[in-house]
């Protein structure tokens, strides 16, 4: 494979407007819907058999965030999980405090069976956040993290590159 590394200044080849959606799979949409709605507080809809969509709450008609951009998770039902996911392939959520992360650890541990959670890791500080990772029964990894105000994604974006190779 010949991969050139010299940078070039020009318009990108793809005129991307939005990074809009991530996809994952589950062997049981009913179970994962209960997790996404009941545990994570997301809004879900099943627009067709075998497909579940999820987004943050508040974007419904008349909702406080209607018209603002949001991220969509698209979950398809499958017979088998072809590739088990690992920690470096996860979906993240933002917690309002470290205490909320600790609370999540305790509550998820106590309710694993109900929400289809296979494993919950103890919260720890890592890479600027305090986070708890948990794995669902489809091997999808999830993270609930708290970032201090100086290390939120928005603040880091504004700072630009802090490291170079």
């Amino acid at each position: 494979m010949n991969v050139q590394t010299a940078p070039q200044a020009r318009a990108p080849h793809v005129n991307t407007a939005t990074l809009i959606c991530g996809t994952l799979v589950s062997r049981d949409l009913k179970r994962v819907r209960h997790m996404l709605e009941g545990a994570f507080g997301l809004q879900c809809v099943q627009p067709e058999p075998g497909l579940l969509l999820a987004r943050d709450r508040g974007f419904e008609q008349g909702g406080p965030k209607r018209g603002q951009p949001y991220w969509v998770l698209e979950i398809r039902e499958v017979e088998e999980i072809a590739v088990e996911q690992e920690m470096l392939n996860h979906w993240g959520m933002a917690a309002p405090s470290e205490a909320a992360v600790d609370e999540a650890y305790a509550k998820l541990n106590a309710a694993k069976a109900e929400y289809g959670i296979a494993r919950v890791q103890k919260p720890r500080f890592r890479n600027g956040s305090y986070a708890c990772y948990f794995i669902d029964e489809d091997s999808n990894w999830w993270e609930l993290e708290y970032r201090s105000p100086d290390l939120t994604y928005e603040v880091l974006r504004a700072k630009g590159d802090l490291h170079h190779d």
């Binding site: 939005t18 994952l24 507080g41 419904e60 951009p69 698209e74 993240g92 959520m93 933002a94 999540a104």
Partner: protein, 147 residues
């Protein structure tokens, strides 16, 4: 709309993650080819975003290759028209070797949307589509379809 209180205190979906073997060549693909915005706040990862607050964290895998994902786990990029999907597809075919693009599938039409998929140098799948948030708004507004 009245929602029940969830188990977790979750302010928002904040990010997803992908793996990469080489930060520099991956960044070139993500910015020059896919047109994403990138910044690198830490040595081990670069953060990509476009058009909203959501971030995909690209984490460097030390001492090996990124996981070979299937199309079950991909990221979708929205462009403004079917013509732009086709233009992106042509660009993917033309520049595949330059950017280490491993596979490029033909465009397809479904539910009034046009899209194609490609697998990048890190085995991550991307779908370029003319889907817009209005499409998802309509699906959420319509509610569950009985089956």
């Amino acid at each position: 709309m009245a929602y029940p209180t969830p188990l977790l205190q979750n302010d928002t979906l904040s990010h997803g993650t992908v793996e990469c073997s080489d930060m520099v060549t991956t960044r070139r693909f993500l910015t020059e080819f896919l047109g994403l915005d990138i910044h690198r706040p830490v040595k081990e990862a670069q953060y990509m975003y476009k058009g909203g607050p959501w971030t995909v964290v690209c984490v460097r895998v030390d001492g090996g290759e990124a996981k070979d994902q299937t199309q079950d786990n991909l990221f979708k990029l929205s462009v403004n028209s079917a013509a732009e999907v086709d233009a992106a597809h042509e660009a993917a075919l033309r520049h595949a070797e330059e950017y280490g693009i491993r596979k490029v599938e033909p465009p397809r039409d479904a539910d009034g949307l046009r899209s194609f998929r490609l697998q990048d140098l890190n085995f991550t799948w991307w779908e370029i589509s003319n889907v817009a948030l209005s499409h998802y708004d309509a699906l959420f507004d319509r509610g569950d379809v009985a089956h």
